[in-house]
């Protein structure tokens, strides 16, 4: 009986003494951490995708709490609303950013850009890119082994087996930019997100001359510049035989789409403009053509 009592007493005493020691040690080595960091971290989506440029959501919330000016910090996954509520919570001004969406800029489907050789190495775009230009002979087009699909944490990318191209689900895309880093050909671009997921972009990255492009792909940009001429907003530039539509200047008027001879300008969730009917031949023009013939 005595032993039992003694054991219980000893242990209780030991516990009490250690508790006192631990209390003082904890006071001595206390690290102050802003409790708001935890709160902000809870408000962030917790994807730890790195889309904000920080190592994860914790690092991002530390930055949000510690910096005075948070205009440059933006979580693409959470979006504007969450950022505003975080800013209100912290009493700072929220960063303003238009929502963006990843865009895959290659239109070379298996039909338009037939394979000219067979690859049997490791199934990774990065590996293919170290070897050669790829199975189609186009040095700029989608390789189609899905490095971007593997990199996307939100399931927004799928590889369409029929076309051999990667497709973006604009509703799932958070514009974290993981695909932009993963694609060895640099096909992805974060572009302005229009309502109803409308989009218009040049689905080609080929900087080759038109003759070279049309040899390997029927859907490539040949750099003819017709789109740039017709654009009323000056949004289209042609550089190195490649047209580019500036998403900030473009107003989705779709005039360029009908001009493009190869169909390299893609539109999404919009109808094409009706083709303008050709003016009926007048008598004079008939005489002209007869003369020319």
């Amino acid at each position: 009986m005595n032993e039992l009592l003694l054991t219980v007493l000893t242990l209780s005493l030991l516990g009490a003494v250690l508790a006192v020691v631990l209390y003082f040690v904890a006071q001595k080595f206390k690290v102050y951490e802003d409790p708001r960091i935890d709160d902000v971290e809870k408000m962030l989506p917790g994807a730890n995708c790195g889309g904000c440029g920080f190592a994860g959501c914790r690092a991002m919330s530390e930055a949000l709490v510690s910096r005075d000016n948070i205009a440059s910090l933006y979580c693409p996954v959470a979006g504007g609303e969450v950022m505003t509520s975080i800013a209100n919570f912290l009493g700072k001004t929220a960063p303003e950013k238009t929502p963006q969406v990843a865009t895959m800029r290659c239109g070379g489907t298996c039909q338009k850009r037939p394979k000219v050789n067979h690859y049997d190495g490791a199934l990774s775009c990065a590996v293919v890119n170290t070897f050669y230009v790829g199975e189609s002979g186009c040095a700029f087009g989608c390789i189609g082994y899905g490095d971007c699909v593997a990199a996307c944490q939100f399931g927004a990318l799928t590889l369409n087996e029929e076309t051999g191209l990667v497709e973006v689900d604009a509703d799932k895309c958070t514009a974290c930019g993981a695909c932009v880093k993963a694609c060895p050909k640099g096909l992805f671009e974060l572009r302005k997100k229009w309502p109803k997921n409308r989009a218009i972009y040049v689905a080609c990255r080929s900087k080759n001359k038109g003759a070279v492009v049309s040899k390997v792909c029927k859907a490539g940009c040949i750099g003819c510049g017709k789109c740039a001429k017709v654009c009323p907003f000056g949004a289209i530039t042609v550089d190195n035989f490649l047209a580019y539509i500036d998403p900030e200047k473009c107003k989705l008027c779709r005039k360029c789409v009908n001009e493009c001879p190869t169909g390299a300008i893609h539109i999404e969730n919009m109808e094409r403009l009706p083709k303008e009917p050709k003016p009926a031949p007048t008598v004079e023009s008939k005489v002209e053509t007869a003369k020319n013939e």
């Binding site: 990774s124 170290t130 070897f131 050669y132 230009v133 040095a139």
Partner: protein, 449 residues
């Protein structure tokens, strides 16, 4: 018999298809496309423009920097374009296109067939001539030879090693050179010895080429080449790797990068490079042609051609008769060669052979899981752990890959060859190596600032 100490494999050498075909001089192409980068280092700068007349051996690409090489016209005629054209991998590179008109040479080139052995030039004059001639390592690495032969002041060369190993299966161009052009190799070796200031040279030849060994020894004894010996080496791939050859011949291990072979006193040169050096120094002939084997089990005929650079790859395949069905066309041999996907691509300095495999021969096995058998570790001639490096590269753990010395990989392919699960180990290691090298360079550049 000597060989290198660690790793290595024993693939079938497959030399029988083309080893008995004497060197044929390929008729001059009507058009030559000459890339402005045929070497490791900075691309050369074209010094001709469309419409210019050029003579065979005339400088058309000026080297831009120390690690770079001159490029010369390989045929005479008119420059029809200076533009980007696809290379063997389909990547577009700047090339000078020459349309042939006759065969006129630069007047200073000595085209007489007689052998000229005496060389009284000083070492720096020899190196200057080599640099002017645009000579690069013809074994495949294409490293500018003048850089290799310029021994740094704080180091001393003790031995010249001439690489006649040709461990790559199928290829026979070095072998034919040793059998048919031994005098040129030996004089070239003497010139290299003179340039780096050593009195001893070893020609390493694998023992699957006994007639090359016998012939070289006979010529050495007959013409009294002093200080040059032929060392037969036990056949094992990749003995032709620079570090492996040094280990096999001298027993010394070259320390990891950035140390160079010169740190153990060795200067290594390929036999074909020795011929190019002989021609440049003794005959003033720049590097415009080389011996190329066109080989493969299923070809209608196999050849060893002496061909001008810029000749289209399709010309070689036409002359040899490609088999029906799927084929794999390789620039080089099956171990280290690169697939040729565009046959309009020209012959370049580093191409020692074109190998043709049938689809069946080239097929890779179905990829299974790694069973941790460590066969790749035993096979790696650099003592690396290929299974680990491959995994790290796949997971993009570049820092860890760097810690495990991925940059030491010589890309010989022993790991992929030996893997019982058919894993594409080297495919991933190569990305790891490239990325880590880029990171190291970026860090060095940042530190400089």
């Amino acid at each position: 018999m000597r060989t290198f100490p660690i790793g290595g494999i024993h693939p079938h050498d497959n030399k029988e298809w083309s080893k008995d075909k004497a060197i044929e001089i390929l008729e001059l192409p009507d058009e030559a496309k000459i890339p402005m980068i045929q070497h490791i280092g900075a691309p050369s700068n074209p010094v001709v423009k469309k419409g210019d007349k050029v003579l065979t051996g005339q400088l058309i690409g000026q080297s831009t920097g120390y690690v770079s090489a001159n490029i010369h016209a390989t045929i005479s005629g008119t420059v029809t374009a200076v533009d980007a054209y696809p290379n063997g991998q389909g990547q577009r590179r700047l090339m000078v296109v020459i349309k042939r008109e006759g065969d006129e040479w630069m007047p200073e080139i000595d085209r007489t067939p007689d052998h000229k052995r005496e060389c009284t030039l000083a070492p720096n004059e020899i190196i200057d001539k080599i640099r002017e001639a645009g000579i690069v390592g013809l074994g495949g690495a294409q490293f500018p030879t003048h850089v290799k032969l310029s021994v740094p002041n704080d180091q001393k060369a003790e031995l010249v090693i001439i690489n006649g190993v040709e461990c790559e299966p199928y290829l026979t161009s070095d072998y034919r050179n040793m059998v048919e052009r031994a005098e040129m190799i030996l004089t070239g070796t003497e010139i290299v010895m003179r340039a780096v200031g050593v009195s001893r040279a070893v020609i390493g030849v694998e023992n699957n080429k006994p007639d090359a060994i016998a012939h070289l020894r006979e010529v050495i004894a007959r013409d009294n080449y002093k200080g040059i010996e032929v060392m037969p080496l036990k056949m094992r791939y990749p003995q032709g790797g620079e570090k492996q050859l040094i280990a096999a011949v001298t027993g010394r291990q070259v320390p990891p990068p950035p140390a160079l072979p010169i740190s153990v006193g060795a200067v290594v040169c390929n036999v074909s490079t020795a011929i190019a050096i002989y021609e440049a120094v003794q005959k003033n002939k720049p590097l415009i042609e080389r011996v190329v084997s066109v080989t493969g089990k299923h070809l209608k005929s196999t050849h060893n051609y002496l061909a001008r650079f810029g000749t289209s790859a399709s010309r070689f395949f036409e002359l040899s008769g490609l088999p029906e069905g799927d084929v794999k066309l390789l620039n080089g041999g099956p171990m280290m060669g690169r697939s040729v996907v565009d046959t309009t691509a020209p012959l370049i300095k580093g191409c020692s052979g074109l190998t043709v495999l049938s689809g069946e021969e080239a097929a890779r096995g179905k990829e299974l899981s790694c069973i941790k058998c460590a066969k790749c570790v035993s096979a790696c001639p650099m003592g690396l752990e290929p299974y680990l490096l491959s995994k790290l590269a796949k997971m993009q753990k570049w820092d860890m890959a760097e810690e495990h010395n991925v940059v030491e990989c010589i890309e010989c392919g022993c790991c992929s060859y030996t893997c019982p699960s058919y894993l594409p180990l080297l495919d991933y290691i190569r990305i790891g190596k490239q990325t880590v090298m880029t990171n190291i360079r970026a860090r060095a550049a940042a530190n400089k600032k």
